[in-house]
Subunit: 292 residues, 4 copies
């Protein structure tokens, strides 16, 4: 299979009209601007924060540490998709309010997940970036709904989704008129069980080859092990990622969710130094508030 | 791995409370009753019909042929989840109305898919069985919403979902008080590309071993090839399936969707005769209107 | 993807010469004759026996029970491919001698595995059917070596091999002049972990569609659970398998290998009765010594 | 799943004796020394060369370019495992002789594949590193045979093999007394089809966490696309790989095998410069003859 055949829109399943996410539809890259922070530019954008919003102290402490280490956007889930109905489902709107308070205090823009078409307006009232999670990558009504917003969308690859399906999911959003889409590789499901998922870093050059959209990587969900996040984060930047989204918690051992894959704030701080070196080795830099 | 460890609710991820879908929670099998047609009884229930509702003639002709061959429930999609935004997305409410007309004319109960929490009430006004499709198996708001209905739900396994995740998705529905859940194996995604999916028939005995819920099989999506539907439908019944859901179209070559995997009405009629033999060979029978 | 494109030899990777395993190369099915027992005929052939040859008593007791229940060929491993070097590796030539004794006593032909090109002549001196196991499906020197024999070969599908690769592996054997090849589906590796492998029964109609070679199924390795062998064995016959190979042990709880997936002789006897009903329901029968 | 549970030998399947490849068995890393070139040291080792040995000119031209760009070991296949019997199977011993001539001319040590236990002595007479390929990762007689040599072995991960199985395969070699094993991640088989395999870079930190053996990466087979080799090679070094093995051909468009994934000598030269920057960014360097 020749990769350049992917540039032929006819390859995209049954669709024959030109593909809006495809490179052919646009001369240069799409830059997604989140309050001045640019995904898809020369600088690599670091998003960090806890899996779930738990309480005020957790958010403030984590956010301050993220900011002081050089993270520029805060992540945190208020609505959580959990395999079991008996797991913590998130704080809901109360979580969104805590995110808002944290943004006011720290100035960090916020990315948070929306799972339900009925909640799109509510979440959009708080979030700077709307996240559509892996399990909803093919939730087409949700994709259409966020496509009608004029707000950035972080679209995570489904754990079972091909590159083609991933791009077609993004196409649903662009097709509603919203071009502000950030693609996120977060690990796919394979036979291997020593890692939570198999982080498919080859998706980074492949997506950037086929599409003009920015591509980021989530090494936390991609590996499921705290100690694997640093090497895989560095590898992602070396492979050409435009950003990273990582789980950081001020007390990982007490996290209500995903503590085993969350970096401590100290680990995150150390990693940021290393990431800067890798970014420079590939002719880029890490986006920071200082250099603006 | 010992299978009986699955009976231990602690195996189900992080949840520690007793699992409602588990065998331990209930002495016998759950029988889902759809207007007198019983899933989970000694008789095997055959659901058939087109992928999508296209028009009145298509529905009436197909439904009459399905009924005359011995199918007892009609399938047909009004809201269609399609990989590309440029593919036919279904007729929407107009499709639901055509399904209703067909039910009035033929007496066949109807199963149709719901993809959006906002559409649950609308679809429930027409459908006898609410289908939650593969792509939405982990759409938890949707699962909770159909869990609040008191109407049967056909839950399809995600194309890359484990048995455990499948049962936990069903648990979301039962946990809202709706026990009328029919599990459907429809093929999983593997490395094999000669078939559309890999129909995992071992899921049938596994699910029936672990859960009291009825289990049916979709050999049309499971294989993607019309000519493979008969052998795999027979195999599913031999493996212990409580029912089958198959794509049948009065003019497969003109179908707007999935024509290559739809049986013609003649092929379906022939298959029904063979299925009866297999059902009897495993001590069951095919449910028919006549024998009630 | 249209399945009939598989009939086009050009589809088989880079090879452009006609494919010897393909249906186009031959008008009817290949019948593999093992001392009068015919694979690929109207009758379904049952192979059974222990995973490993352990000792004389085990072989004699198991073989007699297999024979009395209607099994017509005995399986048993003398050279065992084991994931760990610290697991039981088989009795080697001593095991072959025990197999020979058992054949003399019971009259059952023998299938046993060969793993090493240097052992082909040795194993061929004892075996009636040479088995090439899953892990060696792409061991091309071994395929060429058994291709130079004039003795039946049972070729197991690799646990992560496509149908195309499986047929090309068989082609290596036919290309050396040995047409006596029996294909065996034994489960593929997927993300699902509740079963040892995912038994891909759709491989049965697919292989028979593409090739003239007989196809059998191994539900023991395919599932890894004793209690799943009966439903999946029945499903395999319903799907059109020309035979089954199953693990049976006179004392499964004491087996040195695979005891958890071995049927007891009583369970095997019961299953044989059920298999006969399924075979007849699809217009075939189970091959037995009596009816010859 | 906690990764440190992997350090518990009891996790390795049924084996209970201490695992020789495991970190617990040895205080520091194993350094594999190939004529003074050290795998597992602070320097990253670059192996490059064509897929197959084709002729004298091809080998000499490619080897000189590899050497002048900074590659220190030459790869080239004389015995080729090919899916189809009709594909080029390699030059056999003639190819080994061409490799030897190239070594004499350039001074580059040679790695080449052995596929057959009967060929181990022959290949060992020419090769500096014996390669056991993906398809033979579980060819246990072959593993035992190379385990009896006192020569480095490059063991490639099977395309369907878990990390655990990979380490157990290496254990077969160590268990025969040969500790000179280099592990190579080369892509695993998943559902994704836009790349030839899915390069599992998380295997690098995982293998180095569990084992004391050096780990290298093959981005050529791992991606199947020439243009993806540079980003994935850089990512591999960023993830901590001790070396890379890459396909380079002096005329990729005329290669008898894998031309589409082979770098030209110019592309390789450019890549070497970039790799040096990445190696330095992670506190290492690229091994070169100059610094000896």
């Amino acid at each position: 299979m020749e990769s350049n055949s992917f540039n032929d829109p006819s390859l995209f399943g049954e669709c024959s009209v030109p593909v809006k996410v495809g490179r052919k539809s646009k001369p240069g890259p799409t830059v997604v601007d989140v309050k001045g922070i640019k995904f898809g530019s020369a600088e690599v954008v670091i998003i960090a924060g806890p899996c779930s919003v738990e309480n005020r102290e957790q958010m403030m402490e984590t956010a301050k540490a993220v900011k002081s280490a050089g993270g520029v956007i805060l992540r945190g889930g208020a609505f959580k998709p959990r395999s079991s109905p008996y797991n913590f489902q998130g704080l809901g709107e109360e979580g969104l309010k805590l995110l808002q308070e944290t943004r006011i205090e720290t100035g960090l823009p916020i990315v948070t997940e929306v799972m339900d078409t009925r909640m799109v307006d509510l979440v959009a009232g708080y979030a700077d970036i709307m996240q559509v999670g892996s399990r909803n990558m093919q939730n087409y009504p949700l994709l259409k709904e966020v496509g009608m917003l004029r707000k950035p969308v972080l679209l995570k690859r489904g754990m079972m989704s091909t590159i083609e399906e991933f791009l077609l999911a993004a196409e649903y959003i662009l097709n509603q008129g919203n071009e502000q889409v950030i693609l996120c590789e977060r690990g796919i499901r394979t036979f291997e069980t020593s890692t939570r998922n198999t982080l498919d870093l080859s998706a980074v050059p492949m997506l950037k080859h086929l599409s003009h959209l920015p591509v980021i990587v989530d090494p936390s969900h991609g590996t499921g092990h705290r100690w694997m996040v640093p090497p895989m984060a560095k590898a992602a930047v070396a492979a050409g990622a435009d950003g990273l989204i990582m789980e950081v918690h001020y007390k990982p051992q007490e996290a209500l969710c995903d503590g085993h894959q969350s970096l401590s704030t100290d680990e995150f701080t150390l990693l940021m130094t290393d990431l800067k070196k890798i970014a420079q080795a590939v002719g880029r830099d890490i986006y920071t508030h200082e250099i603006k």
